[in-house]
Each structure stands twice: as C-alpha cells, then as structure tokens.
C-alpha cells in the first residue's frame, strides 16, 4: 500500500536499496575465484598470479569503462579493438621509427584515439548512421590503416620508459600509502555526504551500515595491496584502470553530461524535449571512448613491448561482454562502470584460471560465451521476478 510521501518519515524513503544484481555479480566473481582457487590448489590466488591477472585485465577493463557509456547512450562501438591496435601501433611507430619520447608518444596515441572517436561520433550523431554500422566500418578501416602504416611488420622494441607503463609496479610503501589514501577517501566522501544530508534536513542512512560496508571495502583493498606487495607490488596498469574507472564514475554520477547520457539512452525523444542536446552529447561519448581506446592501445603495446598488426583483435567483443555481464543493458539507459570493471575481471579470471589448469584455449571461448548468455538471462529473469513477485 502506498501513502503520500509527506505522510511518512523520510527514513522510509531513503531505505537502503538492495541491488540484487550488483550483489549477484560479486557473488559470481567470488565463486569463480574460489572454484579456480580450489582447482589449481591455491595457485590461482597466489600473489604472483593475482598480479598477472590484474595486469591481464587492464586493456579490456579500460575499454569496458568507455563502452559502458557508449552502450548506456544506446549505441555500440565495434571498433575499439582495432582502434586500440591502431593507437598502440601509432605509439610504437612514433617511438621506434621516429624516436619520439614516451610522454609525447602517449599523448599522441590518446589524441589519435579521441580524433578517430570524433570522426565516428560525427557519423553517428550528425549523419544519423547507426553506430553498429559506423563502428563496424571503423573496425575495418582502423585495422586497414594499422596494416598500411606499419607495412605489415611488427614494430619493436620500445624504450624502457614506455615499457614501464604496463610492466612496472608501485614500490611497497607507496602501494600502502595509496591503499590507505583510497580507503580514507571513501570514508571522507561518505562522511561528507552524510553531513550534507543532515544539513539539508534529510534523514541519513544508518551509519553502522554505511561505515560497516566501507570498512569491509577498505579491508579488502588493504588485503589486496598486501597480496600484491608480497610479489612485485601494485601493477601500474591496475592504477590506470582504477583512475579511469574513478573518473568515469565521477562523470556519470556528478556531471550533467553523465546524467544526460543516461537520459538519452533511456528515452531520446523525452530527453530532447527536456532541452538536452542529443547530438553533441552523443559525439562526446564517442570522443571519450576513442581516447580510452588510445589509453588501452598504449597499455597493450607497452605490455607486449611491440605493436603487431593483429593487436587488439576481438577485444571489442570482450569489452562488450564485460559491460553486459556487469549489468549494462544493450537497450540503453542502464549500466554502470563498476559493474563493467568487475565484468572485465570475471572474463580475465576465466582466461587466466583455465590456462593455469592447462585447459585448451578453445574452452575459454566456449565458457566465456556461456557465461555471457547466463549473465544476461539472470539479469532478465531477476527483473521479471521483481515485477511479478
């Protein structure tokens, strides 16, 4: 039974939202980790392997972060694998053939990604060609350009500075400092939020629940840092993922741009009549995606210490799968960055765990495909249940 809002205390309205789906995701991740942990006799959870695992997930995770916004806006980007390959190739060529310094090379790769994103976004937003087609075209075009400019060769080796981007680790002490700072930041922002709600006279959530949850997260962060520090320390690419993820979470929750993207994906006509500039925002989404593909390209080239013509092939599918597993709806309007990162982690765990068990690689494809289908099925049926329960 529902009563008018003003009859009930605000406490009720701010009721803790039990988001079944985000929990299902974490439970799935824990299950997968446990299963591999047991099947590999604990080896999967060793410090060395965790370090590897996080290094492996980074490229897909960075792509998935941008892909979330693209899909939320109601589009899709099939070109990101080729684009990461191309931007990584541009970086390698500029450094190996032209001797550019690492910083300039990174900037050039990211700028190239953004520029090509702009080109695709223009077709989608201002020429109304469906994103599926534009980016399918982009996938072919960018791969073609890569093969053309690299003359079909593998470009290697890169400078030590460039290699360090994906292959170095944080010193132990700095790792701990970052972990503590991160946890501190979580507590601070929660406290500030509570404080503001109090000031506005909104009844706040139960502090035990909020801070208890944060305590668990903080302990997990510290535990992870400890595990990684037992090997080489926190991998730098993991920091890149955390930083990009944080940035995009901020964009989607705190800026009007982020809010408008969700609105456009949810109902474009209503968004337009609310005064939202559909075209410009759509264009921006593709620019951001392109820039992130540039970041992914840099990490990829750095990790392999080479750029090859086939780099990043099929990554677009892994990135899309990571988003979808993370609860992003292909219908647009719904999805979140944290889910996409967890999705990427799940995908990487499967690859990593199965190859540790010496299972032939074809099984990885099959299992990942099945998980994708099951994830979407769980999502759909949980939604059905909640409306029919």
């Amino acid at each position: 039974m529902s009563r008018p809002l003003n009859d009930q205390p605000l406490q009720k309205k701010l009721k803790f939202k039990f988001n079944a789906q985000s929990y299902a995701l974490i439970i799935a991740l824990i299950l997968i980790v446990l299963i591999f942990g047991i099947l590999t006799g604990g080896e999967f959870l060793s410090s060395r392997n965790l370090s590897n695992l996080f290094a492996q997930m980074t490229v897909i995770a960075v792509l998935a972060i941008g892909m979330t916004l693209v899909i939320v806006a109601g589009h899709i980007d099939l070109s990101v694998g080729s684009l990461a390959g191309l931007t990584g190739g541009i970086a390698a060529i500029l450094q190996v053939w032209f001797g550019w310094g690492t910083i300039w090379v990174v900037l050039a790769a990211v700028a190239a990604g953004a520029l090509l994103g702009l080109w695709q976004g223009w077709w989608v937003a201002y020429r109304a060609v469906p994103a599926f087609i534009v980016t399918l075209g982009g996938m072919l075009i960018f791969r073609g350009i890569l093969i053309g400019i690299s003359q079909g060769q593998t470009v290697a080796p890169l400078n030590d500075g460039f290699k360090a981007i994906a292959n170095s680790h944080m010193p132990y002490s700095i790792g701990y400092i970052l972990a503590i700072a991160g946890a501190g930041l979580l507590f601070f922002s929660a406290w500030r939020n509570q404080h503001k709600r109090q000031q506005l006279g909104l009844v706040t959530d139960n502090p035990v629940k909020i801070y208890g949850k944060l305590l668990v997260y903080s302990l997990l962060i510290l535990l992870l840092t400890y595990m990684l520090n037992r090997y080489n320390g926190i991998p730098v690419p993991l920091l890149i993922v955390i930083f990009s993820g944080g940035l995009f979470i901020f964009i989607s929750n705190k800026t009007s741009f982020g809010r408008y993207i969700y609105a456009i994906g949810g109902n474009e006509e209503a968004a337009a009549l609310s005064g939202i500039n559909i075209k410009r925002h759509t264009l921006s989404v593709f620019v951001l995606m392109g820039a992130l593909a540039g970041v992914a390209g840099v990490i990829l080239t750095s990790r392999l210490n080479a750029a090859s013509v086939s780099a990043g092939e099929m990554y677009e599918l892994d990135a899309i799968a990571a988003c979808v597993i993370g609860g992003t709806s292909l219908m647009g309007g719904r999805g979140n960055v944290v889910g996409a990162i967890i999705g990427a982690l799940i995908m990487a765990s499967i690859d990593n765990g199965m190859s540790m068990m010496n299972i032939e690689t074809f099984w990885q494809s099959i299992v990942k495909g099945l998980i994708l289908i099951v994830a979407v099925w769980i999502d759909i049926s949980s939604k059905k249940q909640s409306s029919a329960a």
Partner: protein, 512 residues
C-alpha cells in the same frame, strides 16, 4: 450458478516495498458494465493485470472465478482463451506496423505459416467499418494520433470475441466525439451479452455507462454501488474519503502585461511541404490562464511543440517574449526563454521510464541542483521531494524507477519536472489526463497559484468542462488555424464546439 461473470476474491498483491492490493474483492454480473474507480495508485490497473494474466497465478494471493469456475492463468494467452480481453492504460501497439497488422497481432490470422495479407486487410477493414472508423488498415500505426491508436487498440480487443472486456482508461486520449463512438460500441457489445469492466477517472462517462461501480482506495475495496446508488458525489467521496465540493477552484486573479506574442506563425510537416499550422496569431499575458480547445487533429499539440522548438519542420512568423523577439530553434532555447511544455504523451515525450523519480524531476533544470557545477545528490533529493510532495505524488520511494508508478503518478512526475524549471510561460498539454478527481483539483490549485505569481499559462485540453472551468480566455483551433477566441464570459460548450467544428465541413471527416 451465481449469475456473476467474474468474481475476484481476497486478492492480495505486493511489489517489493509496496502492497498494491490488499484483500480486494470484485464481483461483476453477467452482461453489465462495471466501472472501477479509485485514486491514482489505488490498484485498479494492478487488479486488471492480475485478471488478464500479466501477473501469473502464484505471484499473488486470492482466487479468480469466471462463470463460477475457478481459473488460474499462467500468462495472457491463458486469460484470452478464457474469454478475457484487456485494453491497457498504456498503449501496447507496434507503431512500426500497419493498422491491420496491429489489429491481428496476436490472432490466428498472423500465425498462419503463409500470411494472407489480402484477407488480413479485408478483415481489418471490416472491423474498422463496423465501429465507424475511416482509417486505411494499411497505414502505419505510428502515423495516427494517440486517440486513433487507442481506438485501434479497442478494435484489436473486439476481434478476440471476448466475453469479458477490460478497458483501462480507454478515453484518456480521446476527444468527445471519439468518446461517443466508444460509448456506442460498448452499449452495443453489452446488448450482445459481453461483460465489461471500465476504468476511468472521468466520472461523467462512468455515470453514463456503468450499471455498478466498485471503488478502490489504497489497495482495498471500499464499496460496490448499484445502479440506484450511483451519483458522482458518492463515488468521489468513497474514492478520496471525504467529499469534494469545488471541482474547478477558479479564482479571479490579476492579469498583467503581455508576456508572449505570436504573430502570423506557420510551420510545415517535416517531410511534406504541407503546412501543419497556418498564420496563427495570439497573445498571452502574465498571470493569464489561456485555454486552448479544439478537436483532436486540429494541430494544437503540434503548434505548441513547434513553438517550443521540438518540431523539426520549417517555420515562419514572429514570436516575442516579454517584448523581445525570441529565436527558438530547439527546446533548450525555449527553456532558457522561460517556456515549459508538459506533453500529452508522457511515456513518449515526458519521461525516462527506467530512471528514478528524482532524476526525472530534475532533468530539465539540472543546473538548479548543481550549485558548484557538480550534481549535488542530497540537494537533488531535497528538491525533488519538495516539488513532488506539492503535487501529492504517491510512491514508496523517490528513488523508485518511474515505470513502477501508476499512470496518474507518472503524470505528476512530468508536471514536477516542468515546475522545477520555474517557467514564466507554462504550456500544459492535457495536464490532467489520467489523473484522479482529487489530484485534478490539486493541479488546478497549482495552476491558480502559478497564475497568481504571474506565470502565463496555456492549457490545451480536450475536456470542455476543464477548459471552461479554469480559463480566463479560450482559443479554439480547427484545422491548424485559430478559428476563434472567447472570453470566459462568452464561452459555453456550444460556442466552443461551434468554433471547433468550423471549416471541417469542406474536409473529409475522420469519423463517419
């Protein structure tokens, strides 16, 4: 045998966080038209969704008896097989398909291995003719007005030869003449022995049609009234739990200087070179309530969407706001100039259904909750809370998604969104569509309040009593032009209808 076509006993249904129905009982006699009344969110639609199998057996408590036999439906098909057909409050048609395809979407005609298109369209034509609708069955449904689409929905239900026909606010989008057509159809069906459950917030229709009325409030059955007991006042007092005296709380108020001036305004269809509206001129003063009346298809909504910058076709003419020429190319220009447009089609143009109430409410004026350039979610919640409680919105949480709200409460969210922009000129397109009597009065009060604060209000409405009751001045539109203007004193149902039907004679009528 009981003589009841349908009995629903002790129905209880809960959604996460809301008990939508609590021990509801509904008994409908064979061959009667049974009205179901109640405020927004009382549970009417939910009850009907249970009856039609949208919420399958097992997802609720209680029993359903049809012709005295207990039934349980696993899905909509199950209820269809038992002779139940439902027309939902929210249209369930496919705009990309033709009228004919839509009519037979779930029928056996569409399930043959090789579709017999000729047969399908001939059949469709026959059904359309039967209820006096002159619509080409091969036209795309999306090209029709909402009102006509609603009639197609009714035709679709008729083809299923239902024994129990449920209509959930079928007339919300219909004009008076369309309503008359519908009432004729229902009386006709009744004489053929069809039982009908009719949900409507328009009590006039209920009075004209219903043999008995069941009133729900807050998910509970309050009472069932027989023919002899039905009066508008009893229904209203049962619905809201108190008696309402003044339906149109019009108050004389001060009218200020001119705020909007539209001169010789014309605009064209997006594709064709045909004009939608032709040389429209009118003015609006501060604090004035300007009613806009006319038949469906007269171009009222299109005119104001176009003035708001939401209609892509070519346009010409001058628009001045507060004496300054306004160059409105897109909705954001209009919003900046102080305009707000509350659309008649809330699902399509008003709401982001999958988004929270708070976020919908602030969408058109997000800068109000971004004091430091970033969205302040506490402030957002606080603002949404303030604006929605003014409209008496009922929801279990402001952070609930809009698609979980009842139809009338969704309408209130759209209103909240536009009130939150602090408009100087508020354009309301069918503002009380689907809203219960109590809440309607609330909305009229808000309209009054705004006009006292100097907001110029344009109220497009197909409900004559509403236009007559609330407006200071009435514009009547016909065929894309203004066919006349009436002061509050001059306006009567007859004078408005006369202007609304002018010039229609030399055109092919939409209804025979």
């Amino acid at each position: 045998m009981s003589g009841y076509a349908l009995q629903m006993k002790r129905i209880t249904k809960a959604f996460p966080g809301v008990k939508a129905l609590d021990d509801v009982t509904l008994s409908v006699k064979k061959g009667e038209i049974h009205a179901l009344c109640g405020e927004n969110g009382a549970g009417k639609s939910t009850l009907m969704k249970i009856l039609s199998g949208v919420y399958p057996a097992g997802s609720f408590d209680g029993e359903i008896l049809i012709d005295g036999k207990e039934v349980s439906f696993r899905d909509i098909r199950g209820s269809q097989d038992a002779g139940v057909a439902i027309i939902y409050q929210e249209l369930a048609l496919v705009p990309e398909m033709t009228v004919g395809e839509n009519i037979f979407l779930s029928s056996d005609l569409m399930r043959e291995k090789v579709l017999n298109w000729n047969k399908l369209y001939v059949e469709a034509k026959r059904w359309l003719d039967q209820i006096g609708l002159d619509i080409d069955p091969q036209r795309k449904l999306g090209e029709l007005t909402v009102g006509k689409q609603q009639l197609i929905e009714i035709v679709k239900a008729l083809t299923k030869n239902a024994e129990i026909l449920i209509l959930d606010e079928p007339t919300a989008a219909l004009t008076e003449s369309e309503v008359k057509i519908l009432m004729g159809i229902l009386k006709d069906l009744q004489s053929k022995g069809v039982t009908c459950i009719y949900i409507s917030h328009k009590l006039g229709e209920v009075m004209a049609l219903a043999d008995s009325v069941t009133v729900l409030r807050d998910g509970r059955t309050i009472d069932t009234l027989n023919a002899s007991e039905i009066t508008e006042d009893t229904i209203v007092s049962k619905m809201v739990g108190r008696s309402l005296t003044d339906y149109f709380p019009y108050e004389a108020h001060e009218i200020g200087e001119e705020t909007l001036n539209v001169h010789n305004y014309s605009f064209y269809h997006t594709s064709a070179d045909e004009k939608v509206a032709h040389n429209v001129s009118f003015t609006l003063r501060k604090g004035e309530i300007l009613g806009v009346s006319g038949l469906m298809g007269a171009g009222r909504s299109e005119l104001f969407i176009s003035l708001f910058g939401g209609y892509p076709g070519k346009k010409s003419g001058e628009v001045t706001i507060d004496g300054k020429p306004a160059n409105i190319k897109k909705p954001s220009d209009a919003i900046r100039a102080g305009l707000a447009y509350v659309s008649e089609d809330r699902k399509r143009y008003g709401l982001i259904l999958g988004m929270e109430i708070t976020k919908n409410a602030t969408l058109a004026a997000l800068q109000h909750v971004m004091p430091k350039g970033l969205i302040d979610s506490s402030l957002e919640l606080k603002s949404a809370e303030a604006i929605t409680s003014k409209l008496n919105l009922k929801a279990h949480s402001l952070e609930a998604k809009v698609d979980q709200l009842s139809g009338g409460n969704q309408q209130k969210v759209v209103l909240s969104k536009w009130l939150f922009t602090d408009p100087k000129i508020l354009i309301l397109d069918e503002p009380t569509r689907g809203i219960d009597v109590g809440a309607k009065t609330e909305i009229y009060k808000i309209i009054n309040e705004l006009s006292q604060q100097g907001v110029g209000i344009i109220m497009i409405s197909s409900e004559l009593p509403e236009v007559l009751g609330m407006s200071d001045r009435i514009l009547v539109m016909a065929d894309g032009t203004i066919s006349g203007e009436l002061s509050r004193e001059e306006a009567t149902e007859e004078s408005v209808m006369k202007l609304a039907t002018r010039r229609r004679d030399n055109h092919e009528p939409a209804f025979k």
